[in-house]
C-alpha cells in the first residue's frame, strides 16, 4: 500500500514509499529515493540521518495501516527519542532500501520501536526509537 495513504508526511520529506507487509507487531516498508532527493549529495550518497527517519516513517505507516483496518483515522505520531542507532553502511539514490520495524513496547500514548534498514543483504542502520502517538487522529 502506498505510504502516502498512511502517513501525513509529504515529498520531499516523505522518505518511505510503500508499506510492503504487516504481521502482528512487525512491518516492512520500501524506499527508493531519486537522485534529486534532498538527502542525496552530488555522488548520490544519502545522508546517514535519512535512516533514522525511514525507521520513524515506517512505524508511522505500520500504525496508519492498523488504524485504517480498524476504521479509524490515521493518527499522528512524533519522534521523541532515539537510542543506540548504529549506522554501519552507506546507501545511494536509486538503492532499494527495506526498513523493518517491530513494536517492542507501548504504554501511555508512547511506542518503543526497534528498526533496521537494509540494502540488499547489508544492514546499513539499526536502532531503537520512541514515538508519541496522538490518539485523536488528524
Amino acid at each position: 500500500m502506498p505510504a502516502s495513504l498512511l502517513i501525513p508526511h509529504r515529498k520531499p520529506m516523505r522518505l518511505v514509499d510503500t508499506l510492503l507487509s504487516v504481521h502482528e507487531d512487525c512491518g516492512v516498508t520500501e524506499t527508493l529515493l531519486p537522485r534529486t532527493s534532498m538527502m542525496a549529495d552530488g555522488e548520490g550518497k544519502l545522508h546517514e540521518v535519512a535512516f533514522m527517519e525511514m525507521i520513524a516513517q515506517s512505524y508511522a505507516a505500520f500504525n496508519g495501516y492498523r488504524d485504517l483496518v480498524e476504521g479509524k483515522p490515521a493518527g499522528e505520531g512524533f519522534l521523541v527519542g532515539v537510542r543506540r542507532l548504529e549506522i554501519t553502511g552507506r546507501a545511494y539514490a536509486g538503492d532499494r532500501l527495506l526498513t523493518s520495524i517491530r513494536t517492542i513496547a507501548s504504554f501511555g500514548g508512547f511506542a518503543v520501536v526497534e528498526g533496521s534498514v537494509t540494502r540488499g543483504d547489508e544492514t546499513v542502520a539499526s536502532g531503537i526509537i520512541k514515538l508519541w502517538l496522538m490518539e485523536d487522529g488528524r
Binding site: 546517514e48 540521518v49 535519512a50 533514522m52 527517519e53 499522528e76 527519542g81 548504529e86 549506522i87
Partner: protein, 128 residues
C-alpha cells in the same frame, strides 16, 4: 553536499562562536520556506528531528574543517517542536570516549531546551 545541508547552512543566523575549548554555539533561523519544512507537515510545519541532528553534524563538520559522517546516535530526546522562523541555538561539545569522537548537542529556542542528543561522528572516507 546535499540540498538539505545547503539549506541548513544557509539558515545560519550568525557565526560559529567558541564558548569553551571543545564547545561551539551557532544560531539558526529556519524560514517558512526552508526545505526541511516541506511536507513535514503540510498543515502543521515543524522542524524534523533528522534536520535537527543534521544541523548538529553540519556544525561539527564546519567547526572541525573536515568532512564527517554520522556513525551513531547514542541517544536523543526531542522535547518540544520547533516552528518556522524561531531562532534555534545549537551548542555542540566534542569529547573523546574510548577513542571515539562524541558530540553532545543541545538545541534551544528562547532559552528553553528543545532537544538533546549524543552523536558519534567519524571521518568521512571519501570526499563529498
Amino acid at each position: 553536499m546535499n540540498a538539505l545541508l545547503r539549506g541548513i547552512r544557509a539558515s545560519a543566523a550568525g557565526d560559529i562562536e567558541r564558548t569553551g575549548p571543545e564547545t561551539v554555539v551557532r544560531r539558526y533561523r529556519f524560514a517558512p520556506g526552508f526545505i526541511g519544512f516541506l511536507g513535514h507537515f503540510p498543515e502543521n510545519p515543524i522542524l524534523p528531528a533528522i534536520v535537527q541532528v543534521c544541523a548538529a553534524v553540519s556544525l561539527a563538520e564546519e567547526e572541525g574543517g573536515k568532512a564527517v559522517r554520522l556513525a551513531a546516535v547514542r541517544s536523543a530526546k526531542f522535547l518540544s517542536p520547533i516552528r518556522p522562523g524561531e531562532e534555534v541555538s545549537i551548542r555542540c561539545r566534542r569529547r573523546v570516549d574510548s577513542g571515539e569522537d562524541i558530540y553532545d548537542a543541545t538545541l534551544s529556542v528562547a532559552g528553553k531546551t528543545s532537544a538533546v542528543f549524543q552523536l558519534r561522528l567519524a571521518e568521512e572516507e571519501t570526499p563529498r
